[in-house]
Symmetry: C2
Subunit: 150 residues, 2 copies
């Protein structure tokens, strides 16, 4: 398995991956040609040195994705954190330890970027995901609060 930054031409596969999920199916639009909002978002991510949209590839196929955001803070004596969002593993590749390998890679990447903390929020409707993160060493010490605008 190989991990690399996502490319513009990966977008249809990435949006299909986001939509292939109980929650994602309600909010994404994987129809082709792709909604232009996705390529606008991709450009914003790709041009920001503190954002890395990463894919896991096996045999030329995209089997997973996640976005890492590196954020400098004053707190904790001035430190960088790595925020992880938009994690998906292809439905045909689950239960094979791929998510674990992908997260080990991400945690190493956060180290390389001098982060002292990795954080993410996980929907309380996904108890399996929460257990997965706890098994990796994450602790659910915080409430993840969201406010929808508009």
């Amino acid at each position: 398995m190989e991990f690399r930054k996502a490319r513009q031409q990966d977008l249809p596969a990435l949006v299909a991956l986001l939509a292939d999920d109980a929650l994602g199916a309600q909010r994404e639009d994987a129809s082709l040609p792709l909604n232009a909002a996705y390529s606008g978002a991709f450009s914003a991510i790709d041009s920001d040195p503190n954002n890395e949209l990463t894919v896991a590839e096996e045999g030329g196929e995209i089997v997973g994705m996640m976005q890492l955001t590196f954020i400098p803070y004053l707190t904790h004596k001035g430190s960088w954190r790595c925020l992880i969002e938009g994690v998906r593993i292809h439905s045909g590749y689950r239960g094979q330890g791929l998510g674990n390998t992908f997260f080990q890679w991400a945690i190493q990447r956060a180290w390389d970027r001098h982060c002292t903390l990795v954080q993410l929020t996980s929907d309380k409707q996904r108890p399996g995901a929460i257990r997965f993160y706890e098994n990796l060493g994450f602790r659910a010490t915080h409430e993840g609060l969201k406010l929808q605008l508009g």
Copy 2:
């Protein structure tokens, strides 16, 4: 009350604000001259157009602070989110609605930056803060998971 971006010369007051808190007292160093790590972090924040360290000022005194991070995502059909961290209100100014006014300002700022979601995590040891966010319309739909590195 006035809201503006933090300046380098605000740093001693900001670190004092971070340290004046049950959890912050354990992890910050407000001694002078200030630990150089703080000014390094400040420069990284200040030079990033997607990070805004903001102060609330009243009568020339810094009475509050928070950091906004604007993040582009593919999810939700390609959308921007505003992540809020490092929120502090000066202990002498609590219970006067200042936090509410500051958050109304921050939510408007997220609108101005075309965000569709504002998110934050709050330590489960701060039940008063969680109620405050819920009263603002935030919903605790997610677990906030953290992994300390090193």
